[in-house]
Amino acid sequence: MSKKMKMGVLGLLLVTPSFLVLLVIVVLPIVLSFKESLKNKSGGYDLSNYEYLFTDKLMRSNIIFTLEVTVISCVLVLIISYALAAFMRFSQGMAVRWIKRLYMIPLFIPSVIATYGLIQLLGNHGWANRLLLAAHMGQLPRIIFDIKGIIIASLWFNIPFTTMLLGSALTAIPNSIVESAKDVGAGRLQIFFRFILPMTYKTLLVAVTFVFMGVIGSFTAPFLLGPNAPQMLGVSMEQVFSVFHEKEQAAALAFFTFLLCSGLGYFYIRSMIAEESVKNALLG
């Protein structure tokens, strides 16, 4: 056996375990779910479960609600994380030191604890409202058991990691790039939009993908502090499966959620491949 062939076989052997794991815990459940989702009440196969998803009023509002929460969370997480990361990268002083020390803390608090913490803080009878009442300053609007509560929880869970990702991308931009832009006469906005943003765009895309997937598939926070209706898809899926025992509808819901994530994954991979091919064409 030639050396090249030996290396090929070794490569295949190395990749096989991860491929098998992927096959068993990702590909197979998706295929089975899809098959399940096509089963109708009379035991045949059709698209009735999918039809139900888009015709039932509650299901439609669940889908819209989930997308609403996901998009708003993504936008807010990115804006806040980018601002924090940029502040830590380009500023100095006490505030920066404290942000650096504190911003990762949410990552180390289990999601159930953090969610109950938010309920304690922002609930109708939470600390914040009690303090406001004591100070005769009125009352907070309804946050818990509302879309606002889920979004706040999403911010809590996603900002630290996103800030860390963007922070490392911003750190990779040398000061001298900014200085040379200033040197030719660029103002702050031009430096941001023409240099910093294009040079961190790829990481931004990675961050969007992570946040989108994380929020759209979230369960704990929406389950504990979301409204009864409409619901996030994860909560709805659980209810359809465990309470209504509609296994096929739950499978359709799961497959639809998977398709939503795949859509974003597709754009992510496509833009990465496009960038690679531009690079290869330039270097080739």
Partner: protein, 342 residues
Amino acid sequence: MSIQLSIRQLKKRYKTGDGVSDISLDIRKGELITLLGPSGCGKTTVLRSIGGFLDPDAGDILIEGKSVLGSPPEKRPTSMVFQSYNLWPHMTVYDNLAFGLKIRKMSKPAIKQAISEVLELVRLPGMEKKYPGQLSGGQQQRVAVARSLLLKPAVLLLDEPFSALDAKLRHEMREELREIQADSGLTMVFVTHDQEEALSISDRIVVMNKGNIEQIASPQDIYDHPETLFVAQFIGKMNFVKGVADDRIRIGGLSFPNAQAHSGPVSIAIRPEDVILNDAEGQGIPGILKQIMVLGHYAEVSVELGDHGTIRGFQPREAVKSLQPGQKVTVHFAKVLTYSEG
């Protein structure tokens, strides 16, 4: 010639203790002046203060008679060529060059024309569509120089621009920079720690040490008449021996005129090319020839002079043909430089 850039009593201290103290310097229009010194001597601090990237603690910087202190880099009539090229990797050469001109609201055809001309000047015609990653180090640095030239600054600042290039390319770039300077008539402030670079391109050299100016002079004067012991040690190769000064400078059996009226112990500096090698019976300090290294068209010899240590000299290749390591010789000096000790 009018003064283009004036630095007055510039002071800047860092927490580490480094910085500059009381730097004053006038640079004439069209002059290429080099700030030369070892790491931490303050040369980059001066350059970055001129460019507006650092705020000095005290002093003033005037360009064409107007103080620029307090103006941010983008408002100063200066442009900087950085050590690491600093081309923007996500933009083509054209976009790198055009960016500053677009900010200055130049029309598209004028930008295109200016870029084409400047690329001719830096010998990179037709490179507009390339990305920085597709260019060699030398080409990138030429684009960086072109980007600064396009802005027609009153003063062009160059921060060790060739230090990342290999020796051959560095040599070529020096010549090119000198040609560009002659063609454009730009005033340039060049920072380097490479004395050969400074000697080869500068109209005048400012030798700096520990935040102070040691000497300002033409390359020839700096080499021939280093005013301080530091400059003598830093510029070119130099031998140092101990001597005594009274009415004359005395070393071994040799004596030289005491032009600077030193007295007591002195450090005597001798350039290797001023070392004269004689046979054992000749006039001079007796010594033993330790080593002969033929370096192309000349040879470097080292001679042990007893208490005076080892001295190195350059000799014509022909002159060392009959010599053997270990033989007795005498050494004389064509010229000596003296510096008071302490």
